[in-house]
């Protein structure tokens, strides 16, 4: 029904966003690409010679690279798993008739508003600190030796903190989705004698699939570049046990000030992000469209 005129107009209206995003993406990206072929360290002013693929060679053969690649996958995967499973559970619970649901919802939503730096600081110091933290006090009270979270289970500790921040997001989207579920369908299933598990598996879960894909998509975008939580708690250690790719690039760019190496890492990360993106779009784009 769209006329030629409105098509042209649509293009014009799209123009600012596309141009701005293109510029925001292309200009720094081109500069990064250019830097990645130079011997360029901010701390050592010099000629910035062209060195070919040397920066890429060093970045990809760095033992830290493989480890941080898998840490990135674990981090994203772990948080997705916890927030989606926990989110479904919470959503089903909050969908029941309960007293004070509004207050419950307010409490569940709260962590989403907390600055990542603040939540990492609070968890690190007031809860997970093995001497003065609340968990340590609790363990001592029970007579156990306190867990030294960031030394013994660094990556898992970060997954816990990040999951806490993202659980509200997943839970509330899934709750909204569950509330739109057709009740008659469930009643019909009741009449057919379906148990709670088969009801969940055959009716609730398929109904939630769109919402779940949306959660996966949005969370992945944010989780791939998790940074503040790692910086505040473990600084990527011990060893490289909690270094993800974003953090690895950070150490090259802002600790070694190796612009060449950091840029090469940045380009590698962009490629990885794009692979993930294409994969997600295929998987999810379809699901979102119908």
């Amino acid at each position: 029904m769209a006329t030629t005129q409105s098509r042209t107009l649509a293009r014009i209206m799209l123009f600012p966003s596309v141009i701005l995003l293109l510029a925001w993406m292309i200009v720094p990206l081109c500069m990064t690409l250019y830097f990645s072929f130079l011997d360029y360290n901010l701390l050592i002013p010099g000629n910035n010679d062209f060195v070919g693929f040397l920066n890429y060679e060093f970045f990809l053969t760095d033992p830290a690279f493989i480890e941080s690649f898998f840490n990135t996958l674990w981090l994203v995967g772990g948080v997705l798993l916890i927030t989606i499973c926990g989110g479904i559970g919470l959503a089903i619970l909050l969908d029941q008739a309960i007293w004070g649901r509004n207050y419950v919802r307010i409490m569940v939503l709260a962590p989403f508003f907390v600055m990542p730096t603040v939540s990492a600081l609070v968890w690190k110091n007031m809860f997970m600190n093995p001497v003065n933290g609340l968990f340590a006090h609790f363990a001592n009270w029970l007579g156990f030796a306190p867990v030294d979270f960031f030394a013994q289970i660094p990556l898992l500790s970060i997954i816990i903190i990040v999951s806490w921040q993202w659980l509200p997001f997943a839970a509330l989207i899934l709750l909204t989705a569950i509330q739109s579920l057709d009740r008659e369908q469930l009643e019909a299933a009741d009449l057919d004698g379906a148990g709670p598990f088969s009801k969940f598996y055959y009716i609730v879960l398929p109904h939630l699939s769109r919402a779940i894909t949306a959660v996966i998509l949005i969370e992945t975008i944010f989780l791939l570049s998790i940074f503040a939580e790692i910086l505040v708690t473990t600084s990527g250690g011990p060893g490289y046990a909690s270094t993800n790719i974003t953090y690895l690039i950070y150490t090259q760019s802002l600790l070694q000030f190796d612009v060449g190496g950091g840029s090469a890492g940045g380009i590698v990360a962009v490629i990885i992000a794009n692979i993930v993106a294409i994969f997600l779009m295929r998987l999810i784009g379809k699901n979102l469209e119908d």
């Binding site: 002013p45 030394a151 600084s235 990527g236 011990p238 060893g239 150490t251 070694q256």
Partner: protein, 435 residues
């Protein structure tokens, strides 16, 4: 008419003061002494009515990134930067800092301690003024030492420290014999372990810039560190830096703590420390090889070349590092809180010496450190607990991560050293050493 004129005149006056008022931006670390400086800075503003101060107070690592990025790209965001003895010689050589050639007539540059001053000069030009200087020393609990039936020598050995730590440890009672830095970072655990390794006869590089982590001296150092910390250290020590250990010591959880001499003022301060009257001091330990395990560091104030307000910035630096400032702190906060370790005159002040029980040992420690000649075997670099090359921040922190992994038991001492050796070799190859 006259009234109008006078109004006009007063408007002009206000305008002119507005025009001449300059605002300088000061970037500083969130350490106690700097917080005090910020508190007292109204004194500077009242003495210099044309200058307003804006403060950027940040945690050490974040601050370092921001000022380094700014100075290396001539961003010009800051007029005064708080930087350490590691940065000053490197940045001074690059021409990134303004020479401090106009600190005022009564500034008395000659009064600055030679060990500190030489580290802040390039070709005899002063590029930064020391705000406070520090070395490291042994702090211990006299009551626990007595209970253990031991007495701390003035110049202990590492073996004695191990013995004392063992005797003082009472994990049931929440007392840990030895607290040392464990948090990974070139200014954290690497500062301590590198200074320690000097006394064990180890070095980062030989004369040809070859990394030396595959030597026995390094193995002994790291093995000792890991052993004592795992046996007598507090839980969670892999996350402990200066501030965390300070909190532990102040609350009575540490028997011995080896760290910066500035801590002397904090652990003997009765309002913050529960053990203020039970603290003893000794020089950093050694192994009888001629070098002690103490470092040398100073937090300094410097002006980046990109600053457009260097005159006002110079005035501020002169104020903050002057003798008058020391007197001001003494007046407002007490002598014990005066920033230590920068001026000889402070240590000739009988009142300071009597009110600060840690003063003499601080001076002795600072004077015994030799950045130009830090190790038993010769080295091509300057710096006691660091190597003054631009690459060190990166490799120091990466090596620090390996050592932390050894401390938490995720790697053996051997593995950690092998991996440190590998990564430093890679980094040096990339930076094309020897240069």
């Amino acid at each position: 008419m006259l009234k109008k004129l006078s109004i006009l005149a007063s408007v002009c006056m206000t305008l002119s003061t507005v025009v001449s008022a300059e605002t300088i931006t000061i970037a500083t670390v969130n350490n106690g002494d700097m917080i005090t400086m910020k508190e007292l800075s109204s004194d500077f503003e009242s003495k210099n009515p044309g200058i307003n101060l804006k403060w950027v107070t940040l945690e050490e690592n974040i601050l370092r990134q921001r000022v380094t990025t700014d100075v290396a790209t001539s961003g010009g965001q800051y007029d005064v930067m708080t930087i350490g003895t590691y940065e000053v010689p490197i940045w001074g050589k690059q021409g990134w800092l303004k020479e401090l050639d106009n600190l005022g007539e009564d500034y008395d540059v000659e009064d600055l301690l030679p060990a500190i001053r030489s580290g802040l000069s390039v070709d005899d030009k002063l590029f930064a003024a020391p705000f406070y200087g520090e070395s490291s020393m042994v702090m211990y609990r006299t009551d626990l030492m007595e209970k253990a039936g031991l007495s701390m020598p003035k110049k202990p050995t590492w073996e004695f420290i191990r013995k004392a730590a063992k005797a003082m440890t009472d994990k049931q009672g929440g007392v840990y014999g030895l607290c040392l830095r464990g948090k990974a970072g070139w200014g954290e655990n690497i500062a301590l372990i590198t200074a320690m390794s000097n006394s064990f006869g180890a070095r980062w590089f030989d004369e040809n810039w070859k990394p030396q982590f595959n030597t026995k001296a390094w193995h002994d150092t790291l093995q000792y560190y890991v052993d004592v910390m795992q046996e007598f250290g507090p839980p969670g020590s892999s996350a402990n830096g200066f501030n965390e250990n300070l909190a532990l010591f102040q609350t009575g959880k540490c028997g011995i703590w080896i760290d910066a001499t500035v801590a002397g003022a904090f652990v003997t301060n009765e309002t913050d420390s529960e053990v203020a009257d039970k603290v003893g001091f000794a020089l950093a330990p050694d192994m009888g090889l001629g070098k002690r395990g103490n470092w040398l560091w100073a937090w300094t104030l410097a002006i980046p070349s990109s600053s457009k307000k260097s005159d006002a910035a110079m005035k501020f630096i002169s104020w903050a590092t002057s003798k008058d400032y020391s007197a001001l702190v003494a007046d407002k906060k007490g002598w014990a809180k005066v920033p230590p370790g920068t001026r000889a005159s402070l240590y000739n002040n009988p009142q300071y010496m009597s009110e600060a029980p840690f003063a003499q040992i601080t001076l002795d420690s600072i004077q015994s450190a030799d950045p130009k000649n830090p190790t038993v075997d010769p080295v091509p670099y300057v710096g006691v607990q660091f190597v003054a090359i631009p690459e060190f921040q990166g490799i120091g922190t990466a090596v620090g991560q390996q050592f932390t992994a050894a401390l938490t038991g995720q790697m053996t001492v051997k593995q950690a050293l092998a991996s440190a050796q590998r990564l430093v070799e890679r980094a040096m190859r990339k930076a094309r050493y020897p240069k």
